[in-house]
Each structure stands twice: as structure tokens, then as C-alpha cells.
């Protein structure tokens, strides 16, 4: 398989071109944003966090196909999940992209493995992890408020 085919799999193109979670969220109580200065990816997350759960999540901003696909996939997998589960998923996803080892995603999150090809393009890892880092910051922000 050609490298670009490995990176730009059908599923990535589909997620990046038809993001269903794009837009603002009326009930959002946490807003967090992040930027990849070098490439211009800019993502804002709008979250409704309550009872230690992500009740709703939307995103705005713009970025490359990897960044948008990764963000859209993330929103699909974290909505209606507990913060404990989400934190675990964030850790797992980031490890999958940054570890030298071949990390497999659990069955429920198998689709995220489509982004594994990014590992072969080190410069693009930051595109795939941007929104996950923002989500991590958003959760920390929420937890600080709760204390």
C-alpha cells in the first residue's frame, strides 16, 4: 500500500469531509481551543460536561483532513461517555500515535486505528492529536471548577 493510501484511507476522507459534530453547542459549559501554529490547524471544542460525563460535544475551526477526521472521530467516541472512560481513551489514542510499539485499540474503538497511518508521517502526528489534547485540557478545566 502506498503511504498516502495508508494515510488517506476512505474512512478518513469520509470523516473529514462530512463532520456531523461541526458547530456550536447551546448547552456548552466548557469551551477550549488549540492551534498548531506551524500548519494553521485551529480547533475549538464546545462541551457540555455534567455529572462526570460528556453530555454533548461539538467543534468549530479548521484544519487539514487528518485534524478534522481525528476531531470528528473523537467527538463520536466521547459523547455520552464518562470522564473516566474518556481520559483512558485519550491516553490510549495518544499512545497509539506516539509509541514505538504497535498499540491496538480495544474493539469498541477499532475505527480509530484508521489514524494509525499518521505514525509514518511524524510531522502530521500533531494534526491527529490536536483535538485530543484540547479535550484533555477541557476536562482538566472542568475538574478544576468542580473542586
Amino acid at each position: 500500500m502506498k503511504l498516502s493510501e495508508e494515510l488517506y484511507k476512505e474512512i478518513i476522507i469520509e470523516y473529514s469531509q462530512n463532520p456531523r459534530h461541526y458547530g456550536e453547542l447551546e448547552e456548552a459549559n466548557i469551551h477550549e481551543e488549540g492551534v498548531n501554529r506551524g500548519c494553521g490547524d485551529e480547533i475549538q471544542l464546545h462541551l457540555h460536561l455534567e455529572d462526570q460525563e460528556i453530555k454533548g460535544i461539538r467543534f468549530t475551526g479548521q484544519g487539514c483532513s487528518i485534524c478534522v477526521a481525528s476531531t470528528e472521530m473523537m467527538t463520536c467516541y466521547v459523547e455520552k461517555r464518562s470522564l473516566a472512560t474518556v481520559k483512558e481513551l485519550i491516553h490510549l489514542f495518544k499512545t497509539m500515535l506516539t509509541s514505538r510499539q504497535d498499540i491496538q485499540m480495544p474493539k469498541d474503538y477499532e475505527e480509530l486505528e484508521a489514524l494509525k497511518g499518521v505514525k509514518k508521517f511524524p510531522i502530521r502526528v500533531k494534526c491527529a492529536t490536536l483535538s485530543w489534547n484540547i479535550l484533555e485540557q477541557a476536562i482538566q478545566k472542568y475538574e478544576a471548577i468542580q473542586k
Binding site: Y8, Q62, G63
Partner: protein, 416 residues
């Protein structure tokens, strides 16, 4: 007609492969490749001539000093400056512009004064002026763009005033390739007695430069965009102004005399050359200048325009492409900035990379320009003397691959 096929042979890196394909280097606006003779001059210096300059009481140091000063003489000729003392070696264009900002503007600008730039400047010709403006209470004003990506010269009187003390404009835009009419801007500068600074990072490598004919007070350039090594820059400054300015950096070499409680700066150009410079880099730069002179800057520019004339109609046939740059090729250098409908420039860059094609993707250090154009950035192919028509064909083919992968045609069909 420039024999680019022969020229290509002089550049060892252009004989190499990238991702299993012959390297097609289309990022010379970021940094040019180096011919073998420049690489040789660099390593020969370290093998046979290495010594510090202006210090040693021995033959090797004299020889190194001679070679270093010979480059100054060559730069003087290249820019048609009046005297070698008007040539200051720096690290790059950015440092050269900062030198003017700190040593001239910080000293002479007053509250309420104005600095005039354009809407398509590189950050290096913006941020130093922003820093000065903030410190001195001065104001930054911008010459607007026309719809054809040129400076709107007719609107200069709207932003020019008796308060304009500095006008700083690029010779050629690194993001769009627009070549500015420096003579016209110089005339405006003279009308209000403003100091005229030219950011020549892109200009000096692609166009003949005559600082006296332009009538500029400062001209900044980088050797690494002109076939020379990285870490070497030049600031041309008119003697009268350089004499009035304070030193930029203090330390060795820039002094005439030092006492316990003070110092007297040295004469030009030493006053602005503190510390040991990149001697090997400067010496190798002389060889790059010789190479450029031998080919001829006029010929290089004409070759790039011929490549543009070949490329533009081919690129326009690609579905979903949008080109950014003036249609008037007499006012444009070898820069092709473009976007593909619904495809981020970084994705284009990655797909081309796999084909061995090196382009740049992003805002090209011109964020205000990108905001003005309401785009996140562009994909940019930049041409130079070693590029040929086959490189354009490879580029077009590579973009077609991106069109296919991102189903651009399907998207356009759906949208219409």
C-alpha cells in the same frame, strides 16, 4: 534561453531520490539548493583557510580576512552599492531588518510617527516594526492590495503622510510572487523624507538589484536563498544613515576602543559586525554570487517567467484549483500559490511529498495576508534556475493525484 538541464547537474541534491522518486525541488523561496562549487568553497575554507578574521598576526588569518572582505566587495558590486563599507554581514534578512529597527528606528522615531508597510509582508518585515511601534508610540500603516494581488499604488497617498518616517516593503512577495515597483515607492518615500527599507529576501535571488537606481536607504537579503549557505545575511545601508545609527550588538570587533567606563564604536562596517561572523559561510557566499552573476539574474527571472507561462494554463485545467497571484507576469516572480477546493494545503503537501515533490504549505509567515485573503494558507511551489518544464509536469500530475484522493470533482458536482 537558460540551459537549466546543465545547471541542474551542478546541484548534487537534485540528482538524489526522495521517497523513491527523483527529487523535484519546488521550495526555493524557503531556501535554495547549493551548487557543488559553493559546497566545495565551504569545506575548502575549513580544510585549508580556517582562521579567525581581523585578529591574527599570522598569514592564515590574513588570508581568511582577505577572502571575507573580498565577499564584501562582491556584494557591493552585486547590489551596486557605492562602497564596501555600506555592506554589513548579518545572519539573515530577518536580522538585517531588526538591525534597522533597533539601531535606526529605536533611535530616531518619535511618538506619533508612522511606519508604512504593505498588506503582503513577511512576518520578518512586520514584527520588528510592530516592536518598534509599540516601544516608541509610533503607528503601523499598510498599503492595500488590488484584486489582482498587486500593491494598490493609487491608494498610497491615503496612507502616506508627513508623519511617515519609514517605508519598508518587500522586493518580491514570498507568498504571491508579486514584484513591487520599488522605484515608485522610493519616489513616495522621498516626497515625505521617509527612510526606505527593502526586504530583498526574495528579490535579490531572482532579480537584478541596483540599490542606487532603486533609491533605497536599506536593502536586506539572505545568502541561503541565493545558492549560498545558511546563516549569512546582508544589510546594505546608505553610509550617511549607518554613520548616524547606534551599534546593534555590542562585543568584540565592533569597537574602536574600550575603557573601564565606556567604549567608542569602530568605523563602518565593523560597528555593526560584533563577534566572530560565519567566515566560511561568507567566503562560500562569494562563490554563489559569482555563479549567479555568470548565469545572469535577468536570465534567471526570464526562465522563471517562462516556467510560469507553461505552468499556469496547465494548472488552471485542474478541477477545483484556485491560483493566487497576479495575472500580469511582468510583475511576478516564480511563485505558484494555490488551493484545491476542500483540500487543506498540508494534505496537498503530503501527497506531493510522496511523489518526491517538495513544496511548502501553510501561511508562509504571512498571516495578515492570509487573513486578508480569508484562507488558512496556500500550497506554494516556488521556482528557481534549476527547475525545468518536467518539474511543472510532475507538479501538475501530483496535484491530480490529490484531486483523485480527495474526490474534488465529486464534491464540485455535488455543490453545483
Amino acid at each position: 534561453m537558460l540551459n537549466y538541464k546543465e545547471i541542474k547537474k551542478d546541484f548534487p541534491i537534485l540528482q538524489t531520490n526522495m521517497n523513491g522518486k527523483p527529487l523535484v525541488y519546488l521550495d526555493s523561496a524557503a531556501s535554495s539548493q547549493k551548487p557543488q562549487r559553493v559546497i566545495d568553497a565551504f569545506s575548502d575554507f575549513y580544510r585549508c583557510r580556517n582562521a579567525n578574521i581581523h585578529r591574527g598576526a599570522y598569514r592564515l588569518s590574513y588570508e581568511a580576512t582577505d577572502l571575507f572582505e573580498l565577499t564584501r566587495e562582491k556584494v557591493k558590486e552585486f547590489l551596486n552599492a557605492k562602497e564596501p563599507e555600506e555592506i554589513i554581514f548579518t545572519r539573515n534578512t530577518t536580522e538585517s531588518i531588526n538591525l534597522v529597527a533597533y539601531s535606526y528606528a529605536m533611535k530616531f522615531l518619535k511618538e506619533g510617527d508612522e511606519i508604512l508597510v504593505s498588506e503582503m509582508e513577511h512576518h520578518s518585515n512586520l514584527v520588528p516594526w510592530m516592536m518598534v511601534a509599540e516601544k516608541k508610540g509610533a503607528k503601523l500603516k499598510h498599503i492595500p492590495l488590488t484584486d489582482d494581488y498587486q500593491l494598490d499604488y493609487e491608494r498610497i497617498p491615503e496612507v502616506l503622510s508627513e508623519r511617515t518616517k519609514i517605508i519598508s516593503i518587500a522586493h518580491m512577495s514570498n507568498a504571491l510572487g508579486t514584484i513591487h515597483d520599488l522605484k515608485k515607492i522610493s519616489d513616495y518615500a522621498k516626497q515625505v523624507n521617509a527612510v526606505f527599507v527593502v526586504d530583498g529576501a526574495q528579490g535579490a535571488s531572482h532579480l537584478p538589484v541596483d540599490v542606487q537606481e532603486i533609491g533605497c536607504d536599506f536593502y536586506a537579503l539572505s545568502a541561503h536563498k541565493m545558492l549560498g549557505p545558511t546563516g549569512v545575511g546582508v544589510l546594505y545601508g546608505r553610509r550617511e544613515l549607518l554613520e548616524k545609527m547606534d551599534p546593534f550588538l555590542g562585543g568584540g570587533s565592533m569597537i574602536f576602543s574600550v575603557w573601564k567606563d565606556g567604549f567608542k564604536p569602530g568605523p563602518l562596517p565593523n560597528k555593526f559586525e560584533a563577534g566572530t561572523p560565519d567566515v566560511a559561510g561568507v567566503v562560500a557566499f562569494a562563490v554563489a554570487l559569482e555563479y549567479l552573476k555568470q548565469i545572469g539574474l535577468e536570465n534567471i527571472h526570464n526562465h522563471e517567467v517562462a516556467l510560469l507561462e507553461y505552468a499556469i494554463p496547465k494548472l488552471k485545467e485542474i478541477p477545483g484549483i484556485k491560483l493566487y497571484g497576479t495575472n500580469d507576469l511582468s510583475k511576478r516572480g516564480g511563485i505558484i500559490s494555490f488551493l484545491l477546493e476542500g483540500v487543506h494545503p498540508h494534505d496537498i503537501g503530503t501527497i506531493l511529498d510522496e511523489e518526491g515533490i517538495a513544496i511548502r504549505a501553510g501561511h508562509h509567515c504571512c498571516e495578515p495576508l492570509m487573513r486578508k485573503l480569508q484562507i488558512p494558507g496556500t500550497a506554494r511551489a516556488s521556482l528557481y534556475l534549476y527547475n525545468g518544464f518536467e518539474d511543472i509536469d510532475a507538479l501538475v500530475e501530483g496535484i491530480q493525484k490529490a484531486v483523485k484522493i480527495f474526490k474534488v470533482e465529486e464534491k464540485i458536482r455535488k455543490a453545483s
